[in-house]
Every structure is written in C-alpha cells, then in structure tokens.
C-alpha cells in the first residue's frame, strides 16, 4: 500500500463503523449456526465469509497488518466450509465463534492503534490454519505474518501473471493501470500487452475492456502479495499467476480463481458489490484514483440494497428539533384562533384540526427515524456470556428474543453498560457455582440465561432471566445488616429484601471476583437506568431463578412530565419519578431539629424540599398545608416531597439541553419549551435533594431576610410552639443549635 500521507481518518471512521455493523451480522449468523449445526443455511456461511472478507479488504487498505493476517486465515477456512470441503461440526462452530471474538478484538485494537500480543490468539490461529490449509502454523501463516513485517528476507522470484479482464471490468470501476502500478511497487515489472481482442474503431465501446496483459514480475514478495493486488478484480478477469519453475503454487492460485467463478450468480453479484464497496473506500488511498470511479459502484450498490441509508445523527436531531418547534407553533396558533370572533374561529377550526393531526404524524415519523432495533446491543451479549462462562467454569446457554424491538438511538447507546452488568451479575451470582451443583439439585448442567425485549405501554421492557439459585434472602439480609443498610430488627417483606441488592455499597459475593462484586454493582445499574428515566425491579424464586425487569422510555428526546407552578415560575417533573401528590394536613407536618421538614405519610416520614426556598422564588405558597407536596422517588429508592404551589397538568415535552449554551444549573436537568413558546426547566430531583441537604446544613441565609423567621429563630430553641406560629415555623430551617434529632410535634 502506498504510504502517502493522506488524511485517512474519515475513511477509517467509516471502515470501523462498517466493521461494527458487519461483526454484529456475523455474530448473529454464527449464533444461528451454533443452534443448528446440522442444518446449515449456505447463505449464513456466505454472509460470514463476506463479512470477514470485507473486514480484511478494508484492513488491507489501512495497513492493519495483524488484522489482515488473521482475517486471511479465518476467511480461508470459511471459504473451505462454504465449499463443503470441511464438515460443520459443533467444534468448528465453537472455533469460528472464538475466531470471531479475536477478529473483534483485533479490530478494536486497530481502532485504538495498538497491537494485540500474538500469544493471545496464536492458539486459535493455529487451529484455523490447520483446518484451512491442512498444515500447521509454521509454513504458510508464519510466512504470511513475516512477509508483512519483513519481506526483505525472501529471495527474488519471477512471477508470470497473465491477466485477461472480462469486458465489464471497467464498468465495475476497476482500473488495470492501477493494478500495474501496484505491482510495480512490488518489484521489477515487465509488461506485454495483447491487443488481439481490440475490435475495429467503429465497434469500440468506450467502457469495455479489450486489452489483456502478461506481466513478468521479479520480486521478493510472496504469492499472496501478488494475489492481493488482484484481490478486487478476481471476478472480473481471468487470472493466472505462475512462478517460474513452481507448478504447485500455480495450481493453488488458479484453483481459487476458478472456484470463485463457480458460485451461483446471485451470490456472486452480492460479493461483487461488497468488493466494490471496499474498493470504493480504498480508492482515495490510491493517489491517482480516477474521479469517475465511485459512480458505477454506487449505482450498483443502490440496486442491491435500497432498503436503508446512512444519515448523520446530527441531521436527524435537527429535524426532530424543528418538528418540535412546529408542534409548538401550531399549538400557539391554535390558542390565538380561540381568541378570534366565533364565526372566524369556526372557519379556521377544521384547518387547524388537520394541521394538528399532520404535525403529530410528522413528529411520530421523525421520532421513528431515530428508532433502532435493540439487536445491536443484544448482539454483543452472546460473546460476553461465552467469555464469562468459560472464565467462571460454568455451562451457560443464552437465549434471546425480541431483538427486533425498536427503541430510540439515544437509549440504545445508554443501554449497553447496564445490560452488561446485569448479565454479569446473572452469570456470576445467579447461576450455581459449578455444573455439578446444578446436577445435585436436579437441574440440567447447562444453565439458561434469557434476554428478551418487548414493548409494553409505551415503554420498552428488557428482561434478564436465569434459572439459577435465586436470591439468598437470608444472606442478603444479614449482609445488609452488617453493612448498616437496614437495622437488625427491621421486618422486611421478601420483595423488600430482594430490592436490597440495589442498595449502594451492597455486594454479596463472598470473594471479590474480576467478573462482578467490587461493591459497585446493581446500585450503579439502578442509577444508570433511572438516569435514563427507567426503573429496574427484581423477582426471585429461591432455587428456581431470578428475573430482572428493566423498564425504559422509548426515547430520551421526549419525556412525560408534570407541569408544576411555583410562584410565577413553571417547572417540569418527570412523570416516571412521581409517586403521588397530596396536600398535607397541618397535623402531618413536622420539623426535625436540624431544620429539615418532614411530612408523615401513612406512617413514613418524607422529607420536604421547598422549591421556592432553594430557588428563591418570590410569591410562592410557603405553607405546605396550603400548597401541594409532590412525592418523588430519588436515587436509591428513597422518597422526598417537593413543595409546589399547584399542578398544572401532564404534558409530553421535548428535552432541550441547557448546557449547550450555558453552564449546568443545580437542581435543573434540562429545559423544554412549552406551548406558549416559553422555556420551562425540568427539575433534577436527585440534585434538588442534594441541594436541600446542604441548605439544611448551613441554614439558608436567604430566609433571614424574613423578619418573621428571624423572630422565630430566637424562639426555635423551645421545642414546642404555639399553634398559631406553626405555619411560619415550617418555613424556618434554622435551629440547628439543637442536637436532638428526634421528630418534633408542632402542636
């Protein structure tokens, strides 16, 4: 490959993006093979072959030598398999799976610009090599590897290459000149042109290839290097490569060419497309690339797969944005229409109804553009399960379903981490230590972990089930007591005990393993998920297994919110975090001596967060018994009450970043735009909780302006207050001098 200093980054990015997609495809197909080794779909093998081939082609373009070396062997094996030379057995499929894992690793390494130590995969490489070339690693592969690194060691050979393009070669965007140049780079080249096929000038079709060539190349490179030059044109030409006085290799090379031409035509054209895609990608690396070149390839490609296009997420976001604006503008206009005289309003009403419907539909379609099947996340899981199972010495089978369930791209991106963690947890803690353990309790040795996704009431449910031992409630309980998460005398339901595994700092693994159990466990999962506006719950049957249910919103771009008013300000609270809202009676309001206010709710004490106080909002209702308390769940499943003036209604809002043009604001997670075009802030309930604790600690100075409060603060040492002062007292966060933390009765 030319070492010209081209800015390849952008092509590399495309390549890795494609690799990721291709690998997912290969992984899925391999999983099929694994489940059904007797009845193999030839198309699956072909598809996997194409994946590896494309990966190799691109890798060659970018000189990822290690990757090329490995992909080459892998590809060779696959090629033999699809030609039926190697029978597909379970062992082979397992080998293929490992090979795929290594390929993934190598691609990742190439992406990060590092090299994987050869020792890491030499084992598999040997096995592949043995199968693919009927010979151990030493000869061909070592050769292959060393060729790339130290080609000078080889002695010069004379290759005689006869190259006869098929007429359509040029139409497929291949250029013999470039091939010749590439060969020239390999060594000393003599070219003989054969013009026999050239018709008379009247009959010439400008984009057909008429010439054929015989090249004599004197070079120290290997046969593979020469073959690689013609890699992308093999199907568009008759190629024969001879080494002077080495008939054996000649045979090999011509065989591979002919075998390719025996493939059925459908498959072949697909193959061609792939190759051209790679070729097109490769084109910019060749300094003299012909500008017209990508066009025919492009045409060919669209005729092959028209079903999808690749669009930058930015563009879609912009579209989503503008549609959101459209919806707002439409709502605004509608309000204006209501103010018109009735005869005019009636005239407009019909039109507005249609407009409303259309805008809603546009919004839905645009949101649908961002939807993707969860497959892209699920596809990574089989590999994880394989790796973990072998590391832990367990036998585990993964079953997946519903991988076509669609969810917003933003959710997909965030889904991977928590899901990985959950699967790890299931394998490490859920499933019995050894297959023998399972046998003794009468279960099959092979444990099953099920991963499924489904839509349910406007949300996506992702369910991870294992048939392991279930949660050991006794141990969870004692551990929780030991860690001070619960009190020893606390009486908890089974569900409540199960729920303890989500508590921060909780980890029941007897030993810290490198799989899971560093104490950052399920609490992180729960936090990640609640950050996404989702919930996670666990259902366990001792001895039978455990089921985790993750419920997530379908998109992070819109949110179901409750609009609340405080003074003249309006805020949005995410509906998923709201548990209930109530207007507390005076008797239910209490104050802790550290200044925190609580409301008693069915025997539980819930801390009050006064929004108007935290945000210094004038004109708000300060008396909780005259205002409303919205009870929300915060991190760790705790509940706090947010004091607001009133609820204005439920609304779906489009989430807008505040940080795009300004800095993060405490207690605010994002912003949105209301129907009147005004910005409203979305509350971050966890952040509010943190703020409220701080205020309680240092007693907010802003309240000192209030003369009533100052007056009261002198009073506050006394533990009982006259009833008429109770109302104002509630607003007073002071009296932190008193050490007593007991709940005080107001009346």
């Amino acid at each position: 490959m030319s070492t010209n200093d081209f800015d390849l980054d952008q092509f590399k990015a495309t390549y890795f993006e494609e690799c990721a997609e291709l690998l997912i495809d290969a992984e899925t197909r391999l999983a099929d093979l694994q489940h059904n080794p007797e009845n193999v779909d030839a198309e699956d093998l072909n598809a996997i072959f194409r994946v590896v081939h494309s990966v190799k082609g691109g890798a060659g373009a970018f000189s990822f030598d290690q990757l090329v070396g490995f992909a080459h062997i892998y590809e060779a094996l696959l090629d033999k398999m699809r030609q039926g030379e190697i029978q597909i057995t379970e062992d082979i499929v397992t080998l293929l799976l490992s090979a795929n894992d290594i390929l993934t690793n190598l691609i990742q390494a190439a992406q990060n610009g590092i090299t994987v130590p050869e020792d890491d995969f030499i084992d598999i490489k040997n096995k592949l090599n043995l199968l693919a070339f009927d010979q151990p690693i030493s000869s061909s592969v070592e050769e292959d590897a060393t060729e790339i690194t130290t080609p000078e060691e080889k002695s010069a050979k004379k290759y005689i290459i006869s190259f006869t393009p098929k007429p359509e070669l040029l139409q497929h965007a291949n250029e013999p000149l470039l091939l010749a140049r590439e060969m020239k780079a390999l060594g000393e080249l003599t070219t003989i042109v054969n013009t026999d096929r050239l018709p008379s000038i009247q009959k010439i079709i400008s984009d057909e290839a008429y010439f054929s060539w015989v090249f004599e190349l004197v070079s120290d490179c290997s046969l593979t290097d020469v073959e690689e030059v013609f890699e992308f044109v093999t199907e568009d030409c008759d190629l024969e490569i001879k080494i002077d006085g080495d008939p054996k290799k000649e045979e090999i090379s011509s065989q591979s060419t002919s075998s390719e031409s025996t493939e059925n035509s459908d498959e072949k054209s697909l193959e061609t497309t792939k190759k051209q895609a790679v070729e097109a990608m490769q084109a910019p690396t060749i300094p003299t690339s012909v500008p017209a070149k990508p066009t025919p390839a492009g045409n060919n490609q669209t005729s092959q797969r028209v079903s999808s296009i690749r669009v930058e997420l930015d563009r879609v976001d912009r579209l989503v944005n503008m549609v959101g604006e459209l919806v707002i503008t439409q709502a605004m206009l509608r309000q204006q229409v209501d103010n018109l005289p009735s005869e005019l309003a009636a005239f407009m009403a019909k039109g507005f109804e249609d407009l409303g419907m259309h805008t809603r539909e546009i919004q839905e379609s645009v949101m649908a553009v961002r939807m993707q099947p969860v497959k892209s996340v699920f596809a990574r899981i089989p590999r994880l399960v394989r790796e973990l199972a072998s590391k832990l010495g367990k036998k585990v089978e993964l079953e997946t379903s519903g991988e076509h369930t669609e969810v917003d791209k933003t959710v997909i991106e965030q889904l991977s981490d928590p899901l990985t963690h959950m699967i790890r947890n299931s394998l490490d803690h859920g499933i019995e230590e050894t297959p023998e353990d399972r046998k003794t309790v009468g279960k099959p040795e092979l444990a099953t972990v099920t991963l499924s996704a489904e839509h349910r009431s406007g949300r996506i449910h992702i369910i991870v089930t294992d048939d392991g031992r279930g949660i050991n409630r006794e141990r969870v309980r004692s551990k929780a007591i030991e860690k001070g998460i619960i009190n020893a005398d606390e009486n908890l339901t089974d569900e409540a005990i199960d729920d303890l595994i989500f508590s921060p700092g909780f980890s029941t693994a007897e030993e810290v393993t490198d799989v899971s159990g560093r104490g950052v466990g399920m609490d992180v999962v729960r936090r990640n998920i609640s950050n996404l506006g989702g919930r996670i719950s666990v259902h366990s049957t001792p001895g039978k297994g455990t089921k985790f249910v993750m419920s997530l919103p379908l998109t992070l771009a819109v949110l179901d919110g409750m609009v609340v008013a405080v003074g003249r300000e309006k805020f949005i609270i995410s509906l998923t975090s709201i548990i209930e809202s109530l207007r507390p009676a005076k008797a239910e309001l209490h104050r802790l001596s550290n200044g925190a206010n609580v409301v008693s709710l069915r025997g539980e004490y819930i801390r009050l967060i006064k929004l108007h106080q935290l945000f210094n909002i004038p004109g708000a209702r300060k008396d909780p018994s005259k205002a409303l308390v919205v009870v929300v769940e915060i991190e760790g499943g705790k509940q706090v009450g947010i004091l607001v003036d009133e609820l204005l209604g439920q609304q779906q809002v489009v989430i807008k970043s505040l940080e795009e043009n300004y800095d993060p604001v405490d207690g605010i997670s994002a912003a949105t735009i209301l129907g009147n075009g005004m910005v409203a802030l979305i509350l971050d309930v966890d952040g509010l909780d943190a703020m409220a604790r701080q205020v309680n600690h240092r007693s907010d100075p802003s309240d000192l302006e209030d003369t009533d409060t100052v007056l009261l603060s002198e009073n506050s040492k006394s533990l009982t207050h006259p009833p008429d002062l109770a109302e104002k007292e509630i607003d007073n966060p002071l009296s932190n001098e008193t050490q007593d933390l007991e709940v005080m009765e107001q009346n």
Binding site: N321, M322, G324, E325, M332, E569, L614, F615, N616, I617, K656, S657, L658, E660, N661, Y662, D663, V665, D666, G667, I668, A671, I673, G677, M678, V679, A680, L681, P701
Partner: protein, 192 residues
C-alpha cells in the same frame, strides 16, 4: 411571542443590520480579506444608557426585540434567564448589570443581540442598537487601566467616532464560562 407593534418597529429599525450581515458572511473570503488588508473591522454598536458599545459584526447571529425569559435559579443578577430561539435555549445577559450599573428594566423597546462566543450562543440585553461601524485597526485605542471596576479586561478597545466614544466588547472574556463562574464566586464572597 406576543408580537407587539413596538417590537415590530424595533425589528424594522434593526432590519438593515441583519441584512448587512449575510452580505458580509457571503463575502467571507474576499470581503474579509479586503477588510483585513486595509486593517478594517466592522462592528455593530448599541447603547446601554449613555454609553455606546460595539461587538464584532461577524459574531452577531441575530437581533431581536425583548421577550420575556425564563429565570434560572441561583444565577447572578446579570443572568436574565433563558429564551427559546427557534428551539435552542439561549441564555440572556444584562449588559448594564454585567458592568455593575443595576438591572435593566426590560420593555418591548429593549433589544437582545444574539452573539456567538466560541461554540456557544448568548444574548445580550441592551437598550437600542444604533449603528454599524467600520473601524480601521489603527483607530482602536487601548483601554486605560481603571481601578474601580474589573471593566477594562472586558473591553478590547475604544474607538472615537464623531465625538462619540464606543467601547468594543471582549465577549469571550465577558461571557466566558470560567469568568461567569468566577463572577458567581465573587458574588458569593461579597455576600458573606
């Protein structure tokens, strides 16, 4: 957006300016090269009280009449909240207040100049937009050191045009995040 007649008027008044901008942007390569070769820059000027300020015309994105904003809690006084600019949330700063001259009582006659500061967009609340100035770089005078306010580092220079003094804003300093944060912490220490 209650498009009041006054706002409309204001918008009309500033219309030529926003017209001028695209031309300048279009001219981009050539126009800029011209301006540079002759050492000239263009500024949009606006008034806050008696004082006239200018910002580089290339950073101005839009000029619009004052609309009600949504206040952000626990932000400095000069931070006048955020508004919705075609789906983008833009923070608005009160220039008068930023220079410690008290809060502007914004009416429909007041103007918000949306400018780009690095990657971000911010709005400045000013009294009126007055002019486009073409200033040669040699006419820009240094800001004399002043003891009273931190003002001088927020100005990039002074220009005299027909007896009027125009202070050119250094918006990167004026609305930079760190400075804003510093502003908040300064505000806090003053309180305690």
């Amino acid at each position: 957006m209650e498009s009041n007649s006054l706002v409309a008027q204001e918008n009309k008044a500033v219309a030529p300016i926003s017209d001028a901008k695209p031309q300048n942007v279009n001219a981009d390569g050539t126009g800029l090269a011209l301006a540079e070769s002759s050492g000239q820059e263009q500024y949009i000027t606006f008034t806050v009280g008696e004082q006239e300020y200018g910002v580089d015309i290339m950073s101005v994105r839009e000029i619009k009449g004052w609309v009600e904003t949504t206040l952000l809690p626990n932000t400095p006084d000069y931070m006048r909240g955020v508004l919705n600019l075609r789906g983008v949330i833009v923070p608005i700063f009160d220039l008068r207040c930023r220079f410690g001259l008290g809060e502007t009582e914004a009416t429909n006659l007041h103007v918000i100049v949306i400018i780009a500061v690095k990657e971000r967009m911010v709005g400045i609340l000013v009294d009126t937009v007055s002019d486009i100035l073409t200033v040669s770089n040699s006419d820009i005078r240094d800001v004399p050191k002043m003891e009273t306010l931190i003002e001088e580092e927020y100005l990039s220079g002074l220009v005299t045009i027909e007896e009027r003094m125009v202070a050119l804003l250094n918006q990167e300093k004026l609305f930079d995040t760190q400075i804003i944060e510093k502003g908040i912490s300064v505000g806090l220490t003053e309180e305690t």
